[in-house]
């Protein structure tokens, strides 16, 4: 089986399970919306939030919801005892990682389609003033976050207290994603749009994605072998 085909089959399997049960999609989305509402109640005063708060809230919601989705997607494999089968797939190990990563990115992407307009509405942020730039920033940020998260969630699937350990490991490592994501989004929603700033953060996010996907592909094999 070629690498690409294996990746595609794993993505299709994950998405089919998800389309049938809609478990992760609904819980993640509901949790993300609840987060945004909690932030709105605490940060919006007299109908207005401070400048740039929307960008921060968007990324916090993505990271919290992403954490939930990552934990759940591997917990499902563990509960139905399909993880071993997945590891026995006659394809290179990294294909399993790439398949899982793609599934998570698609799922988080679907959540973000709802989150971005919601944050724009509740925080009076002009999120959609530069849609292509925003899409690029959100996509690269999500890939970076999910690249680290997929590896860690996979590693932790057999560990004790994995639910608590995932955010403990994930958030310190993804600090650059949140800094770059928030700063770039903030630059996008400002009235005087500075393209150079957005370009810098986008370049940083792309570099982060490249480095961490490569590292994860290399690490996935040794850490997933018993």
């Amino acid at each position: 089986m070629t690498m690409l085909r294996a990746v595609w089959l794993i993505v299709r399997k994950d998405l089919t399970v998800e389309v049938r049960s809609r478990e992760i999609a609904y819980t993640t989305l509901f949790f993300a919306v609840s987060c945004v509402l909690v932030f709105a109640f605490s940060l919006v005063q007299e109908g207005r939030a401070a400048d740039g708060v929307g960008a921060g809230v968007l990324w916090m919601a993505i990271m919290f919801a992403g954490n939930l989705a990552l934990g759940r997607t591997f917990e499902r494999e563990r509960q139905s005892e399909t993880l071993r089968a997945l590891m026995l797939v006659p394809a290179p190990r990294p294909a399993v990682y790439l398949g899982k990563l793609t599934g998570i990115v698609v799922l988080l992407g679907a959540t973000e389609v709802v989150l971005v307009p919601l944050v724009a509405l509740l925080f009076h942020a002009e999120m959609l003033a530069h849609p292509f730039w925003l899409a690029a920033v959100v996509a690269t940020g999500t890939i970076g976050f999910a690249a680290v998260g997929t590896l860690f969630a996979a590693m932790l699937v057999r560990a004790r207290s994995r639910d608590v350990l995932l955010p403990v490991l994930l958030y310190p490592i993804t600090v650059p994603v949140i800094i770059a994501g928030v700063r770039a989004t903030m630059a996008l929603v400002q009235p005087d749009f500075d393209e150079a700033v957005v370009r810098f953060w986008l370049a940083l996010l792309i570099a982060f994605d490249v480095v961490f996907v490569t590292l994860a592909l290399w690490t996935f094999e040794p850490v997933m072998t018993d």
């Binding site: 560990a159 207290s161 403990v168 490991l169 310190p172 800094i179 700063r183 040794p222 850490v223 018993d226």
Partner: protein
Amino acid sequence: MPKWFLPAAIVCGLMFVVSPFVIANAPFDSTMGLVYKIFYYHMPSAWMFLTASVICGVASARFLATGDARHDRTAWAAAEMAVLFGVLTLVTGPLWARKAWGTWWVWDARITSSLVGWMIAWAYLILRKYGGPGSEKLSAGLALFGTANVPFIYVSVNYWRTIHPATTVVPTLPFSMGFPLLFCLTAFTLLFVLLIKLRVRVAEQQSRLDALYLSLDDAR
């Protein structure tokens, strides 16, 4: 334990006892006065913190590549050193910053990367302790990611602004200020080497003991 361990430990202890006097004899800084003297402890701890982090990252990568448990023990010991010297760095830093900059904390590139690096070292130990069986590989993966992460944090925070004094001032220090720094640096390096040696030794004994228990079970 190797033969040099006890004499080295005695020398190290003596150096730490003498160090306050050496520091007290160093001249006052023309702009900062007395408060700058904390940096005789701050900078050596920061360097040891950085050294420990690098050792942990390199040993973890080698462990993942080779599967040799010796590298794992080194990485574990280094992670503990990183947490220890990280605390010293992060406590002495704000004490100085309060006087010099008028604020306890700033989100400067060096400071933020140190804080996140220290958190990763801490996460490493949490994973080791609570991860259960097989956590040594997982923590090696974490250490590798943590090491690769530091340049990204540095660049991203640096893009705002950096007010932390550069280490390029060190070679230009006059002898009266440079000597206490060198003295403290030697003391901290010695302490670091001794502690890491001791910690690796404990881990070795531990794994030897585990192996003995296992063979005892097999014999029954």
